[in-house]
């Protein structure tokens, strides 16, 4: 470890590793720190990711792909099922990852690009001078260090402190976090080609249960509920109820827990000498909780903007605004849309969810996106989902595409 770098990245998840890799590839002197002694472990994730998007940033490797799926099946409280798949072409739409291996591969990519990586190294504060972040205070093996950097990138996950230290309030309210528990189960009867989702206030209040195949009759069986619904019954209690009913003979070979930001976009993610990426920037999807690709996409932008800022010797918030503007223009719009959807769906009763489920039952929606699914639901249930009409405006192409799929 040196005492100064161009960029210090705090946290070696997909957001941090991607930022470090991109910045190092651009010729910057980069340090990537991870507070745990093992990158990627314990996992806090259902591990599902869109295959097409992911390929933009990393070459698929069987070492970190547990399973490939053809689509999703969403179950309403009464069992009505909506299917999204591409049966005709047999295209596989998603991967279920082995995050322990995947996260390490991304960190390795960053290292091979030239970044220095330090594990078991925790940021404990920021070095501040004249209103600029100038590096971090860190601890490694019970020793304290001051590490100077022109730019600090906070990729420190749901429990992020980097933003708070720089004056950005990233505190989540109970309604803004999905509190999750998951078993890796084996010896269970699952459909290996589909990710399954179960919704309903009784089984998963303001959240959902997921069953994601992991290969060889294994699956990630998990639940996420919105924080303010947790208390008397917690994520683990509700998961146990589901598992007992659905997979009575199944065996649990791993247990994990986690919190996922579902708040939508926050006010700002840059300050003088600082950027936030991934869960630290609350870039996970408010409806699905998915954030792997979002993190990598934002990390790639952050790395490029860091390189540009160093080149121009300007790391002010004004210059770093380029990152903020770019991620909001793409990902930010998706998150805003998801938040509108979340707000409507959280007010639906189980009976209304059943109505929605039955409206599309037996129709294969094809390999559609979330917006495609929503459009199909909207068309069939305009009265119930009238609040969502705004999100379809100006997306004529998607409307047409979706209507073709629904009508075919």
């Amino acid at each position: 470890m040196k005492d100064r770098y161009d960029v210090v990245v705090v946290g070696a998840g997909p957001a941090g590793s991607m930022t470090a890799k991109t910045a190092a590839n651009a010729g910057l002197d980069v340090l990537l720190i991870e507070k745990r002694q093992q990158i990627g472990d314990p996992v806090r994730c259902a591990e599902g990711v869109n295959k097409t998007y992911l390929k933009e940033y990393i070459k698929p490797d069987p070492a970190w792909i547990s399973a490939e799926v053809k689509g999703s099946k969403i179950y309403a409280p009464d069992g009505a099922m909506v299917e999204m798949s591409e049966e005709i072409s047999g295209a596989e739409v998603g991967y279920v990852l082995e995050r322990k291996v995947f996260d390490r591969a991304l960190a390795r990519d960053a290292a091979l690009a030239g970044a220095e990586v330090m594990v078991k190294t925790r940021a404990t504060g920021l070095l501040m001078e004249d209103g600029f972040v100038k590096g971090i205070k860190a601890e490694h093996m019970d020793e304290k260090y001051n590490i100077r950097a022109d730019i600090v990138v906070g990729a420190d996950g749901v429990e992020s402190k980097v933003g708070r230290w720089a004056g950005i309030d990233t505190t989540l309210k109970p309604k803004d976090i999905s509190t999750c528990a998951q078993y890796l189960m084996t010896d269970i009867d699952i459909d290996a080609d589909f990710c399954e989702f179960y919704v309903g206030h009784k089984i998963a209040p303001l959240g959902y249960i997921w069953v994601f195949p992991k290969g060889n009759n294994m699956a990630n069986v998990g639940i996420g509920i919105t924080g303010h619904m947790s208390g008397e019954l917690r994520a683990k209690d509700l998961l146990d109820d589901f598992v007992q009913k659905r997979y009575p003979g199944g065996k649990v070979i791993e247990f994990i827990v986690g919190g996922v930001p579902v708040c939508g976009t926050i006010e700002r993610t840059v300050a003088n000498g600082l950027m936030l990426v991934g869960d630290a920037a609350r870039q996970s999807d408010p409806v699905t909780g998915g954030g792997i690709f979002n993190s990598m996409w934002a990390g790639d932008i952050a790395g490029k903007v860091a390189a540009n800022a160093i080149k121009h010797s300007d790391v002010s918030a004004e210059f770093l605004q380029e990152y903020e503007t770019k991620w909001r223009a793409g990902l930010g719009r998706d998150l805003d849309m998801s938040l509108v959807v979340k707000k409507r769906f959280t007010r639906l009763t189980d009976d209304e969810l059943n109505t929605l489920g039955h409206s599309l039952e037996g129709i294969d929606l094809g390999d559609t996106t979330l917006i495609g699914l929503l459009w199909a639901l909207f068309k069939a249930n305009k009265k119930l989902l009238w609040d969502l009409r705004g999100i379809f405006k100006g997306i004529k192409e998607i409307e047409m595409e979706a209507s073709v799929e629904v009508n075919s």
Binding site: V158, E159, P174, T179, G227, K236, G259
Partner: protein, 57 residues
């Protein structure tokens, strides 16, 4: 008084850290530390997926 963490239940996910208004909690490898800024508000205890946190009465 500060919130009590049952380390035999805790799954060290850090969810509690993210909701703590004063930032009194910190996840360090496999355990949660609580500092003196804790106000006993109980938000962390409410959202914990396994019920590992308890506000002393």
């Amino acid at each position: 008084m500060t919130v009590k963490v049952n380390r035999f239940k805790c799954g060290y996910c850090g969810a509690c850290v993210s909701v703590c208004p004063p930032g009194a909690l910190e996840l360090i490898e496999t355990w949660i530390e609580v500092d003196e800024t804790c106000t006993d508000c109980g938000i962390c205890a409410k959202i914990c997926p396994v019920g590992a946190l308890e506000v002393p009465k």
